[in-house]
C-alpha cells in the first residue's frame, strides 16, 4: 500500500538525519520528526569527530561547523604519565553541524520538522505503519511504510514496537560536561585521563574548542553511587592550578547517557529499523557515537531502498540491515566490549604500568579492537601477573 511517506524517522540527530539524506538520495520520500525546538540544540556531546570518519562519510569539513582542529590525543595514567597518540580530528560545533546535516537531508529531498514530539507508533495488522506526534498542542499522524527509530539513548519508539532495546544499566555510562573558556591547556591535543578514583570505568576529557577553551567532561559507570558531576567537580578542583580552571567561565552545561555496550543482534521488526544510540551503536571504549550512528544510518538507508524496490517491508527483508551492520561494524564493537570489560577491572597501578609499556601504536590498536595486536600486547605484560591473567581471560 502506498503511504504518505516511504519512511518516517523519529529523531533528528546525526543518525536520523544521515539516514534521511541517504534514503532521499535513493529516491525515497522521507520525513524526519525531531522533538527539540531547534535541531542540534541543546548539545549533549564532547563534539570530537575524527577526520577519517568525516572522509569515510564523504563530508567536506566546513568552517561553519569544523570548530577547532586537533592533531592527537594524550592519554594519561593516574600518576600523570601520558602516551601521545597522533590523529587528526575536529572538536566540532555540533549545533551547527546538525543543522547542516538537516540542510543536506532537505536538499537531497527529505523533509525535517523540528518540535514534533512522537509519542506513539501506529500499528496495523501487527506491523508498524506510522507514528503519532504532537506539535504545539496539535496531534498529528504520519503514515509510512517504514519507521526508523533514531531517537537516541532514551529510545522509546523501538520498545513500543516490541523490540527489546532497553539499555542494561551495566552497559550505560553517565556523562557530564562543562564548556569552559579562559583555561590554560595544550589545545593541539585532546586529553583523556584514566583512573579508578578519577572516573570509575570511564575517563575525564578535555576536548579543546579554542586556544583557551574546551569541553571538559566525564563519563562514568551509571551504577556508581556518586554522580558524574561529583567526580568531574572533584577532578577540576584538584587540577585548577594546572589548567587554570579557577575563575574560568562555564558557557554551557551538558550531560547524557552513553550506551557503551549491549549491542543488539536484532534491530528490526516489521516496518521498523533502529539506528544510532537507540541501537547502542557507540564505541564501547571512548563513547564516541556520531560517526557510528551516521554509518548505521547509511546502511539502513540502503536496506530501506531495497525494501522499497521489493515493496516488502517485513522483518525478513529489513533483517538485511542486521546482517550488513554486524559485518561492517558490530563484530568489531563486540570485541571492543570485551576489551572494555577487561579495562574496567584495571587498578590505578595497572594503568600506571600500562602507560610505561604501551606505545602509541598499541593504544591505537586497542581503540580499534585489533585482536592480533591485543595478543602482541598480552605478551608485553607477561611479567605482570595480574595484567597477564586479565589479558589471557579476555583473549579466550
Amino acid at each position: 500500500m502506498r503511504r504518505d511517506w516511504d519512511v518516517v524517522v523519529v529523531g533528528g540527530g546525526p543518525g536520523g538525519l544521515w539516514f534521511a539524506k541517504n534514503a532521499a538520495e535513493k529516491g525515497l520520500k522521507v520525513l524526519v520528526l525531531e522533538r527539540k525546538k531547534e535541531i542540534g540544540t541543546p548539545v549533549q556531546c564532547a563534539e570530537g569527530f575524527g577526520k577519517e570518519g568525516l572522509k569515510e562519510l564523504g563530508i567536506e569539513p566546513d568552517v561553519r561547523w569544523s570548530g577547532w582542529e586537533v592533531h592527537g590525543a594524550k592519554v594519561y595514567a593516574p600518576n600523570g604519565k601520558y602516551v601521545e597518540v597522533k590523529g587528526e580530528g575536529y572538536v566540532i560545533e555540533r549545533k551547527i553541524f546538525e543543522k547542516e546535516l538537516a540542510k543536506m537531508a532537505t536538499r537531497a529531498g527529505a523533509t525535517v520538522l523540528a518540535f514534533h514530539e512522537v509519542y506513539d507508533i501506529i500499528k496495523e495488522d501487527g506491523k508498524v505503519s506510522g507514528v503519532k506526534a504532537r506539535f504545539i498542542g496539535e496531534d498529528k499522524e504520519f503514515r509510512a511504510n517504514i519507521v526508523v527509530a533514531a531517537d537516541g539513548f532514551e529510545s522509546k519508539i523501538a520498545r513500543k514496537a516490541g523490540l527489546k532495546t532497553f539499555q542494561q544499566a551495566y552497559h550505560a555510562d553517565s556523562g557530564f560536561e562543562y564548556q569552559m573558556v579562559g583555561i590554560d591547556i595544550d589545545a593541539d591535543n585532546i586529553h583523556l585521563f584514566f583512573g579508578t578514583e578519577i572516573a570509575p570505568r570511564g575517563y575525564v576529557w578535555i576536548f579543546p574548542t579554542d586556544k583557551d577553551a574546551a569541553n571538559v567532561g566525564i563519563g562514568i559507570d551509571a551504577r556508581e553511587e556518586k554522580t558524574a558531576k561529583w567526580y568531574l567537580d572533584k577532578w577540576i578542583e584538584e587540577h585548577k592550578d594546572e589548567y587554570g580552571f579557577e575563575d574560568a567561565s562555564i558557557i554551557e552545561v551538558r550531560g547524557g547517557g552513553i550506551p557503551v555496550g549491549g549491542l543488539l543482534k536484532d534491530m528490526v521488526t516489521d516496518g521498523l529499523m533502529v539506528v544510532g544510540d537507540a541501537a547502542h551503536q557507540v564505541h564501547p571504549l571512548h563513547g564516541g557515537g556520531m560517526f557510528l550512528a551516521m554509518e548505521a544510518g547509511a546502511i539502513a538507508a540502503e536496506v530501506a531502498a531495497i525494501a522499497h524496490e521489493k515493496e516488502d517491508f517485513s522483518k525478513d527483508t529489513l533483517s538485511l540491515y542486521n546482517k550488513l551492520w554486524w559485518e561492517r561494524r558490530g563484530n568489531q564493537l563486540q570485541r571492543l566490549v570485551k576489551i572494555r570489560q577487561m579495562f574496567e577491572k584495571l587498578t590505578d597501578d595497572d594503568f600506571n604500568f600500562l602507560a610505561e609499556i604501551l606505545t602509541p601504536e598499541d593504544i591505537l590498536a586497542i581503540s580499534e579492537g585489533h585482536w592480533e595486536a591485543m595478543k602482541t600486547i598480552a605478551k608485553k605484560v607477561v611479567k605482570h601477573p595480574r595484567l597477564a591473567a586479565l589479558f589471557a581471560k579476555m583473549l579466550t
Partner: protein
C-alpha cells in the same frame, strides 16, 4: 509500588539529558515538554535512574506524610 517511599524529581537540578528515561527498565519515566514524568505505578524504586542521573536530580524519599512527621509539622488538609 507503595511502601511509603516514592521517586522524586527535582526540576531545579535537572539538565533534561534523558539518561533516566533510557535507563529505566520498567518504562516508568518519560520526558514530556521538558519535564520528567514519573509513572509511580510502574516504578519499582530500583534506583537505577537515581544512580545514573549525572546531577542527582532524582531521589527516593519517604512520602510527604513521612517528611511532615519527621519535621514535626502538620500537613494541611
Amino acid at each position: 509500588m507503595n511502601d511509603g517511599r516514592r521517586l522524586y524529581w527535582d526540576e531545579q537540578k535537572c539538565i533534561r539529558c534523558g539518561l533516566c528515561v533510557g535507563i529505566c527498565p520498567f518504562d516508568a519515566l518519560t520526558l514530556e515538554d521538558g519535564k520528567i514524568v514519573i509513572d509511580h505505578d510502574k516504578c519499582t524504586l530500583c534506583t537505577l535512574c537515581v544512580k545514573g542521573c549525572p546531577v542527582a536530580a532524582l531521589m527516593i524519599r519517604p512520602q510527604l506524610e513521612e517528611i511532615a512527621r519527621e519535621r514535626g509539622v502538620a500537613l494541611e488538609a
